[in-house]
Subunit: 467 residues, 2 copies
């Protein structure tokens, strides 16, 4: 398999595991919520903490990269080997909003280890998965006796992923020379389950927006005026309801333009996975499946575009009733996109659709928070095979293939850097991304460290073929 | 016209106007919001304040009537004349919620007089219109030299009208003996405008409810699960959107059962009113009309049943985006009903419709806050003619006929007491019922006092024919 004895890697990881977890907990205590302007200082503190930690790990170059929004962290560790391939690891240091009253059993920014799990906002998405690379590269060095990695290792850890990475494409294009690489490793995805390790081959894209609807200049009496003037809450509901047709296909004209349909082989690979609908529903905390007609649940979440209502509000929300026509209403929508879709065209299709559907007397504003492109890596790509081999050594199992329903700026990296994008993630569906009580499985986190420790050697041997 | 010289009534009112307004302001300072459980003590304080003030006015009997909810105030002042008709005045002492941040120019529970208007929550709906009867009956006595009214005068001022009067029907049925009367005068309505005084001949009914929808047990990631499980915010929107068909008719099966359609004569009378759509839209703070096809705006607000979304909520409502499928969503709906509709049947139709429309995986609860029946008085009713004459003397103008789009428990009184229900209101559409900056026009409030002062003599002369 490799010149590196795997036992040396495992011993090194075991020795340094406690200190690694203590460091991770320290990082998780920083509430780096990029969506909340009040947390901007915390997002910056998170970036500075990581840069310092990467320097301590041994990266000779660590930098804070400013953007018009939150700062990213860049680090570089040249191999020293002539002709070594260059690999760029991508992740993010910002997290989703979280508050105890949302249903957390413990404070979301006070990490707790219990029953082999580390609970905290960001434990899986994405601080835990970024952080396994720190111990991973140290284990790689320790086990091989090297003083620098077998590849030229670069890290780019952004600070606005949970806000749709609005400044990331511009950052990547502006810094394309520094970021130049032979392959991108994205550590911001999950795998099938604890028992079925998988490599992800693509992510959905994302376009999300807020639509504000304005009707009367103030709330008005539903008796005196009801039935005779437009109601912005009703119109918000009519928009949200019109997102889907009776077959739960997205009903926005032009939405499906360019969608790359699944091949029969891909549908077969999906169908071979040990999908247990009841178990999956438990991880979804849901009581039934519902989605686009003609597709399985896995196809719906991995390979089909969607429209979801993330938030809707308007009018009275206090106790009891209040017989008003509200002055305003708001929709927060997100669209997941699949390979072949164009984010700008989707945004324009949504804008046109909203404008065409609202009656006279309702004004509207629509704000897109940014867009993330979808991406997809061919199943037979040589660098993908390196990831599969490294995982296989860490997990001691056959590695299968999945896709990721969530979104990351992987496609921006692929486009700007002209490099293939590979996914290395150890999170499982029950980790509760974006939900209360997010956690990461400590055993899997360790397997992530181990995979990272094997990967650089394998890519150095096989990486030239990835270009 | 009458034995009472109108100038004596006017002089008495002029003399006591300042003290009357000071008293009213004191009452308006009590935030008697019946929908808010935290305001229960204030609603009680409002009842006690009114009972004391009615005793001071001269009513020999004043009582607080308890209900399972908020207390009502009852007062009685026997005429002493043998064979005098008995009249029951109905109003309410509770008010809609109000907070400065809703858009009030001044504190809603700190009355301010400015430019001939009294601004406060409850100024028009309904404390001002209840209160004109106190000075009205004193002016009636002063001008006629009587020591008791020409009619047996009863007042019933409830405390839960803004919460749909859930306990009012039971209270009226339980106390029907005490409330027995020849006519009910409801002072909780408006008139056409400052320039066009009108008598209202009917009110719409009301059934309002809250529908809670539950999907996943917690918010879940819209990337990991989006497109494959039901979203309660989407389902809330689909329900709200399905309330109306393409012609903006209410689409709930059975909703229109029993509706008494307008006669040609009634449509003509509506059409004769000086309706200025642009001016009406200004009072509605709205920018366009929209409603049931085939009906004018006046028909829509007075004589057609409606469904309105009073509130909708679900999912993330903070700054920026949050890519979740929310765990729950909520709708607050109100239905205005017209004569011929049965409130219980409407509630059942709504329950059946909701249950039939939700997909598997969405649980729901529906809570009706209570229901108010619609009512309608024939245009040629003799007691209605007394009201028209009294108003005509106060306003010095021809009195026209309207209906009221809002709702009150008038029909419960009509049914329980077997007495005709008449409407005496001086509020105008710009008064801002249920809205920020509610006010009452002081000149019209004075005309209300004057009308009340004339009405008891007229009804004593003509009231026997009302039975």
């Amino acid at each position: 398999m490799s010149a590196t004895p795997d036992s040396a890697v495992r011993a090194y990881i075991e020795e340094h595991r406690s200190a690694f977890l203590e460091d991770l907990a320290e990082w998780l205590r920083i509430p780096s919520v990029s969506a909340d302007p009040d947390r901007a200082a915390d997002v910056r503190r998170s970036a500075e903490w990581l840069a310092a930690k990467l320097a301590e790990t041994g990266f000779p170059v660590t930098e804070i990269w400013e953007t018009p929004g939150a700062p990213a962290v860049y680090a570089e560790w040249p191999s020293g080997d002539e002709g070594a391939p260059t690999v760029l690891v991508y992740g993010h240091h910002d997290v989703q909003p979280a508050a105890l009253e949302d249903g957390w059993a413990t404070e979301p920014f006070e990490p707790v280890i219990k029953d082999g799990r580390l609970h905290a906002r960001g434990a899986a998405d994405d601080k835990g998965q970024v952080f396994f690379h720190t111990l991973g590269v140290r284990a790689h060095l320790a086990a091989t006796g090297r003083t620098a990695p077998a590849v030229n290792l670069k890290l780019l850890i952004e600070g606005e992923e949970e806000s749709g990475s609005p400044n990331f494409p511009a950052l990547v294009h502006a810094r394309a020379d520094r970021l130049a690489c032979d392959a991108v490793i994205v550590s911001d995805t999950g795998m099938w389950s604890e028992d079925t390790p998988t490599v992800c081959t693509g992510m959905r894209g994302l376009a999300d927006c807020q639509i504000d609807l304005y009707g009367p200049d103030q709330d008005i009496h539903s008796g005196s005026f009801g039935g005779a003037v437009p109601n912005p809450a009703t119109e918000a509901a009519r928009l949200a309801a019109a997102l889907h047709d009776a077959d739960r296909r997205v009903a926005i004209p032009g939405f499906y333009d360019g969608v790359i349909e699944l091949t029969d082989r891909e549908r077969e690979l999906f169908a071979e996975l040990p999908f247990d609908e009841a178990a999956w529903l438990r991880t979804a905390h849901s009581y039934a499946t519902l989605g686009e007609e003609g597709h399985t649940t896995l196809e719906r979440i991995w390979a089909r575009p969607t429209a979801e209502v993330n938030g809707i509000s308007g009018g009275y929300q206090g106790p009891g009733g209040k017989t008003i026509i509200p002055s305003a209403a708001q929709l927060k929508l997100s669209f997941r996109l699949v390979a072949g879709m164009d984010t700008e065209k989707v945004q324009q299709a949504v804008r046109d659709w909203v404008a065409a559907r609202l009656p006279a007397g309702i004004r509207h504003e629509i704000t897109f928070w940014g867009a993330t492109r979808p991406c997809l890596t061919p199943l037979d790509h040589p660098a993908l095979q390196s990831v599969v081999r490294a995982m296989s050594r860490a997990f001691g199992q056959k590695i299968r293939f999945t896709r990721e329903g969530g979104s990351g700026p992987a496609a921006d990296l692929q486009d700007a850097l002209g490099a293939p994008v590979l996914f290395l993630g150890i999170s499982v569906p029950s980790d509760g991304w974006h939900a209360p009580n997010e956690k990461v499985e400590l055993d899997l986190l360790t397997k992530g460290v181990e995979t990272a420790a094997y990967l650089w050697g394998d890519l150095a041997e096989n990486g030239r073929s990835t270009q």
